[in-house]
């Protein structure tokens, strides 16, 4: 089994005619994802990689019965693109775009609280259920189907940890990138809750980083609600306070909250072992299985 996406998921790609949109649509199709439509204003009637393009998400959903969207729209227009997706009753919207202004995301976040759609991201690599579907930019070849769930704030760190798992023959149920921005749709807690409910997920990897308090909240959730064992990794131990380390969310305030230390401490207190290296995370998972 899996969470959030499987081989029934029907995908519309917003921004399918752009360079990234086109390239990754081809990659997703090659992986076996049901990409059923594209949506680009003014490009309706065209085809990309054999996929029909519509002018609006609404048309794409109505004509092709899509239930998920992946957003490859440039940052200046991406907030609007997510609003458009949220107005069409999709089950899932995956926003890949990096660099959406935070205040645009605050408005999106407000709308999100009024609808039933799940948003993943923005600034995330997407989601993959190995062997079934991938929505986003993750390199499909490093993933294997199996019994470990993975949720991460960082794309490339996800790849690193997954390759450490796959090399040992440990496959994944679903891997989710939730994104590194200060305001995101799906949180660690949302993903952990879904993995806990998934009977095929026997262990979970959670990759966090400095900034915010999402990991601390996740630690609390794990202690109170999870039987499935979780192993963690926290990036940014060496980050100086006050500096933004690439991800907009990865900034430590001077007062000691949001540091790697506080996150690792909270996870350890919740019974979650935290690896010093990505490889050590795989060691912990191996111990669980």
């Amino acid at each position: 089994m899996s969470i959030f996406v499987d081989d029934d998921t029907r995908v519309v790609v917003q921004g399918i005619t752009g360079g990234e949109g086109k390239f990754h649509t081809e990659q997703m199709l090659e992986y076996g994802t049901n990409v059923v439509a594209g949506a680009v204003p003014g490009k309706g009637g065209q085809e990309v990689a054999g996929v029909p393009v519509y002018d609006t998400v609404d048309q794409a959903v109505a004509e092709e019965d899509a239930d998920a969207s992946v957003v490859f729209v440039p940052p200046a227009f991406a907030g609007d693109a997510v609003f458009e997706a949220l107005d069409t009753d999709l089950d899932l919207v995956v926003a890949i775009t990096e660099g959406i202004p935070t205040q645009d995301m605050a408005k999106v976040n407000k709308r999100l609280s009024e609808v039933d759609t799940r948003l993943l991201g923005p600034n995330c690599p997407g989601i993959i259920t190995p062997g079934e579907a991938k929505l986003g930019i993750l390199p499909g070849n490093i993933f294997e189907s199996g019994n470990v769930g993975l949720v991460s704030r960082s794309g490339t760190l996800t790849y690193q940890v997954v390759s450490n798992l796959t090399e040992r023959g440990i496959g994944q149920t679903t891997a989710i990138g939730i994104g590194g921005d200060p305001i995101i749709g799906t949180s660690f807690v949302d993903a952990l809750e879904a993995f806990e409910a998934d009977t095929d997920t026997d262990a979970v990897v959670m990759c966090g980083e400095i900034g915010g308090e999402d990991e601390e909240q996740a630690a609390k959730f794990i202690a109170e609600n999870m039987d499935t064992p979780v192993a963690g990794f926290i990036a940014g131990r060496t980050a100086p306070p006050g500096k933004r380390m690439g991800h907009a969310g990865a900034i430590v305030s001077g007062s000691g909250t949001g540091t790697a230390e506080s996150k690792i401490g909270a996870l350890n207190d919740a019974g979650v072992p935290v690896g010093d290296t990505p490889n050590e995370v795989a060691d912990h998972i191996e111990d669980f299985l």
């Binding site: 205040q103 993750l138 490339t156 390759s163 200060p182 060496t238 380390m245």
Partner: protein
């Protein structure tokens, strides 16, 4: 992106927030001309991105020509926590009775902006928030509607602001929110708002941080960025458009994706080395970006060794390898040893392209980091 006090004050003043009369100066003579215009007492304030400027000797009050000259001579050119002071703001001193705090920032946990008001102004507000949080009144703002006037009044009254100036403070708060929204700020703050003996309110300081992701629609503020840049290498990174942070170690680090680059830094530290920088070449980087990244890291004289850690997803290993070759083939002798680790999309193609006479190649993240740390150790021994 953080504005200097004088830049933020100009933005605030243009929006109608009362600020003291002031001039920017970069020489002692300019300071003397400014105090001639403004009169005494005058505050002379270093314009650098450092907290606690006052305590560090970066702010002085002058009540005479002699004091003004002394203050100017001691502040201009001084080293303030690693930043050289090349500009000061000369500002009319305010005769005040009370100091207040007002600010707006994003509460990321709630995903909403929050307005904060306190009678405890003129002090380190983070300590107030930590030790006596009840002394700061807070009001969350629906980003779809903005700050309603009643909310501004509510938070001001809740904070216990004296009634005769409460409406003026509420009005400043409303203006601050308009600026926060229209200028894509991540933080706006006045600490302190001074209440004068004539019961007028004046912004005696100004903090404004802008969301860097929104600079594309804030061209006027983007122009201020050059002046606001501190470190020379960080300014160069701005020019190239890299996410870059300079650190104090000697192992240069280049990678793709913020989380993986941070992890590489952490591993350098874990294996006994010290990272010289954070440098994320970003997603989908082409050969030219890689060349620029190497140029950045080589330009840092503290760097003794370099490690490349690329896990391709959207980024392709062959493009990265081409960039590394192009950058290194320019040199008769490679300035610092470079260790490369390539994985993910097109990594195999990349490994075939990579000129192995110029770099050291490692198969895993751990091996690459350990080798780079060892390279750096050999230089320093």
């Amino acid at each position: 992106m953080r504005l200097h006090e004088y830049q933020a004050k100009q933005v605030f003043a243009d929006a109608g927030i009362p600020t003291p009369d002031s001039r920017l100066a970069s020489t002692v003579e300019e300071v003397m001309d400014a105090v001639d215009d403004i009169g005494y007492p005058a505050a002379i304030k270093a314009q650098v991105h450092v907290g606690g400027r006052g305590k560090a000797g970066g702010i002085k009050i002058a009540t005479s020509e002699e004091e003004a000259r002394e203050a100017a001579e001691s502040i201009i050119g001084m080293d303030l926590k690693g930043y050289e002071v090349d500009k000061v703001l000369v500002e009319a001193g305010v005769d005040f009775e009370n100091e207040l705090y007002v600010g707006i920032t994003m509460d990321r946990g709630e995903g909403e902006p929050v307005a904060m008001v306190s009678t405890e102004g003129g002090v380190d507000i983070e300590s107030v928030a930590e030790e006596t949080p009840e002394k700061i009144a807070r009001e969350h703002i629906d980003p779809a509607f903005g700050l309603h006037p009643y909310q501004a009044r509510k938070v001001v009254f809740e904070a216990g602001i004296p009634k005769d100036v409460a409406m003026d403070v509420a009005s400043i708060l409303s203006t601050l929110y308009d600026l926060y929204e229209s200028k894509d700020a991540s933080e706006v703050e006045i600490n302190p708002v001074m209440i004068t003996s004539d019961r007028e309110v004046v912004a005696a300081d100004a903090v404004m941080n802008i969301d860097e992701d929104a600079l594309f629609r804030q061209p006027e503020l983007a122009e201020m960025e050059d002046e606001a840049a501190g470190d020379e290498l960080e300014a160069k990174a701005n020019e190239y458009g890299f996410d870059y942070v300079r650190l104090s170690g000697n192992v240069g680090i280049i990678g793709n994706g913020a989380g993986l680059v941070m992890t590489t830094l952490d591993l350098v530290d874990y294996y006994g080395g010290a990272p010289a920088n954070f440098l994320d070449i970003g997603g989908g980087a082409k050969a030219e970006r890689v060349t620029q990244a190497l140029d950045m890291v080589f330009a840092d004289e503290n760097v003794d060794s370099v490690v490349f850690n690329i896990f391709g997803g959207i980024t392709r290993g062959d493009e990265v390898a081409k960039g590394i070759n192009e950058a290194l083939e320019q040199f008769d002798e490679i300035p610092k040893p470079v260790v490369v680790r390539l994985a993910g999309t097109n990594a195999e193609e990349g490994m075939e392209i990579l000129n192995k006479d110029l770099v050291q190649v490692e198969g895993t993240l751990e091996d690459a980091v350990q080798r780079a740390v060892k390279n750096a150790e050999e230089v320093t021994q």
